[in-house]
Symmetry: C2
DNA sequence: ACTTACGGTAAGCAATTGCTTACCATTAAA
DNA sequence: TTTAATGGTAAGCAATTGCTTACCGTAAGT
């Protein structure tokens, strides 16, 4: 009973360029919200809102430390997308084969 | 020199629920535009517009046959996303390790 | 030639989304 | 305790996006 689409929210979250940018920033190391906002062409509250969406999609995790919120990649959401795409890939290629066979249906 | 982000358009395209639905419909077999629209809660022109975006993202291909346009999965866009995520996965996990090591920095 | 099926495009509208500026709460430093 | 740093949330606005209807072109069928 897999709860329909953990990947749905993830795709939705990464559908936005700014969120992909934030996601990329966290690729190599955890950063505080302010750190993330620094250098981005949007305000800090805007970043906060993006962070919530990324968190809901389980693409990042937020860990509080003092007054700062450190964000880091959450493997769960990333894995969900990988699994979905890997699975999609397999069935799509299988379908391709079937079509090819039916097309070369020659005996 | 990889041309910055073939995956960008793909993530953008799959960021929309209706486009994910269309994408899913094509998973097992090619379908005409009308076939895709049939059963969806939106008009056929709406489907046409989604198809263009999916095509631009190289997630689907369109092959004309008589008066019908058959859509099918394009492995290119899917592969681009897979490669991006696989790569992301690797570097993110490597970063996790580094953090863990520095955290247990006890001598 | 007429008609029907298929489907792309444009214009306009409605809903959603992303951003900003407030404002407030919490924690650490003075 | 006062002050500064950090950051979440709300309200409002602007831009984008997705949808519809209308229209037109092309290819098959009659």
């Amino acid at each position: 009973m897999q709860k329909t689409g953990q990947h749905e929210k993830a795709f939705n979250a990464l559908g936005d360029p700014m969120r992909r940018l934030i996601f990329e920033k966290l690729r190599s190391r955890p950063l505080s919200v302010a750190d993330i906002a620094h250098g981005l062409p949007v305000s800090r509250p805007a970043v906060s809102q993006h962070i919530r969406i990324l968190k809901d999609a389980r693409l990042i995790r937020v860990r509080r430390s003092g007054t700062r919120n450190f964000c880091e990649i959450d493997p769960d959401g990333v894995l969900a997308m990988r699994i979905y795409l890997d699975n999609f890939w397999d069935t799509a290629l299988a379908a391709f084969k079937t079509v090819a066979e039916n097309q070369t249906d020659d005996e």
